[in-house]
Symmetry: C2
Subunit: 316 residues, 2 copies
């Protein structure tokens, strides 16, 4: 047991990332049942839909369940109040300032974790009173920091700067990468893409099957002129790239917004429009070649972590 | 002793990266004397200058010294013949196809290592007959792969694809990152920026002192429209960024070439023009806060590796 498993009351320091359209109650419950921390991703959910997913997760397990609240969403406060009313005790906040809701949440005696992409954000999260930090590297899927700091350089920098528990994210999908993250100073890991590629995730089956064909260059961080996001390279992503190579300045920003439009992520990831949908996924997808159950992921992770540990030389 | 130290005849699986204007005979000899593998970086060197640096290194140590040959340079063949004539037995080739010189070098019974930035390149290097591969992630300083594959996801992918020894590079400057690299499946590490920041490197003292002030966002990979390169954000880099945000297509390429001109790297890194020079450095510079001797770097690396190892839990 380390300080992270103690903080959350879980068996393994393995957290499932909150992912828009992918991490509902079913996935969160499966991860918590397996001994990790499952997270219902509230991104894009109306409070009533969030209520349904939390209730579903709670009906499937009595173990701790967390909720991830992207703070930029206009209904973030309503989502928080809904989750509090349902007895949620662990909140992950992201995409906004840790000063915004941390004291409100701490007043309700819950555990707060903030997601960051720079060492400075980790420090200001600690100062805002959060209980732990997720530091997410450039290789992560979905929304991405502007400074492009990779997991390899981000984790030791954050470790040197804060005292509270540190969760590494970005590029982690197997036991080797878990061991690497702990080597760099993390207390545990958060994985998104690995859990997207499980039977219990709500990603569309066609999307999961497409991802089995991913290559090392299948993802790219695009839309840096507006909000950077790492996407699978389908027709939509290629069109975005074309726009980025054909315009600049304010014109580029407007063209990107216009072409993105609305509901692209829902169409792609949930409804399976693999051509015109927005498909958020991490660079580590190239290492994932199966769609197992969450329980199988845990068995493999723990076995491969120990194997990788045994392969390490004590003396160089 | 692992297969990498055996291959090179060295004590520790720690390789010093070949760096333009920074890794001459003095630095290479210091690294080899400390038990690693020192590399004279032949980039931009006339064959006569390369001769001077190799001779200097050989005068300072009888341990193995390697030479790094960027294959795009028009005098690469002359450089290779010069190094062969001086008895160099280990060649690192980069920035070009491994098919170009590997069989020529193997005919001279020397050890050949090729530097790659994708799993596919690693595979084709093995097929071309090289003895080992350096896989370099997106966080590395200087010239950079187009696919932006980070060290965290690159190393396990390469490990799964090749059987020959694997050296991890990019984002590695301390014992924690070395342990992480070995966790991911590497047999050893190559470090550039850490050795740039030593008393023995030939980087200008003003450049080294400037780098002591680096922050997590001090470097950026620029010039993706021509040849991607990770640079320290000085006035020159800011101008490049401005150009990239103001032009596109062929126009952008021409503007970048014009503004880069010639000798920018020499002016910056060797001669200390910190304003208008091109300053190549890795993202990991944010973790480096001193300018020790090479020997001190080795003592610290080995101590910190063992400390990080002891902190790892066997059971999650």
């Amino acid at each position: 047991m380390n300080k992270l498993t103690k903080l959350f009351g879980i068996d393994y320091p393995i957290i499932q990332g909150g992912m828009v359209w992918v991490s509902g109650g079913k996935l969160a419950a499966a991860v918590s049942r397996a001994g990790g921390l499952g997270i219902v991703g509230a991104g894009s959910m109306q409070p009533e839909l969030l209520q349904r997913h939390i209730t579903k997760a709670q009906s499937l397990t009595s173990k701790p369940i967390a909720v991830n609240i992207p703070l930029l969403y206009e209904k973030a406060h309503e989502q928080i109040d809904m989750a509090l009313s349902l007895g949620i005790k662990i909140f992950f906040t992201s995409a906004g300032s840790p000063k915004k809701f941390t004291s409100y949440l701490k007043d309700h005696a819950v555990t707060v974790v903030h997601v960051v992409s720079t060492p400075e954000q980790a420090k200001s999260s600690e100062e805002a009173g959060v209980d732990a930090v997720v530091a997410e590297g450039f290789e992560a899927g979905g929304h991405n920091g502007r400074d492009e700091i990779t997991t390899m350089t981000l984790i030791p920098q954050v470790r040197d700067l804060i005292k509270i528990p540190l969760i590494a994210a970005g590029g982690i999908a197997d036991g080797r990468a878990m061991l690497a993250a702990l080597s760099l100073g993390a207390d545990g890991v958060q994985m998104g893409t690995r859990f997207l590629m499980t039977r219990e995730s709500s990603a569309h089956e066609d999307f999961k099957n497409l991802l089995l064909q991913a290559t090392p260059s299948s993802t790219k961080t695009l839309m840096k002129a507006t909000v950077p996001v790492r996407l699978f390279s389908n027709k939509f992503a290629e069109e975005i790239l074309q726009i980025e190579q054909s315009f600049h300045g304010e014109n580029l920003k407007q063209k990107l917004k216009d072409h993105l439009g609305k509901y692209r992520a829902q169409h792609g990831m949930l409804e399976g429009d693999l051509i015109n949908g927005e498909l958020e996924v991490g660079q580590v997808i190239a290492l994932i070649k199966n769609i197992p159950s969450v329980e199988e992921v845990f068995i493999e992770l723990i076995r491969d972590y120990q194997q990788a540990y045994k392969n390490l030389p004590l003396h160089l």
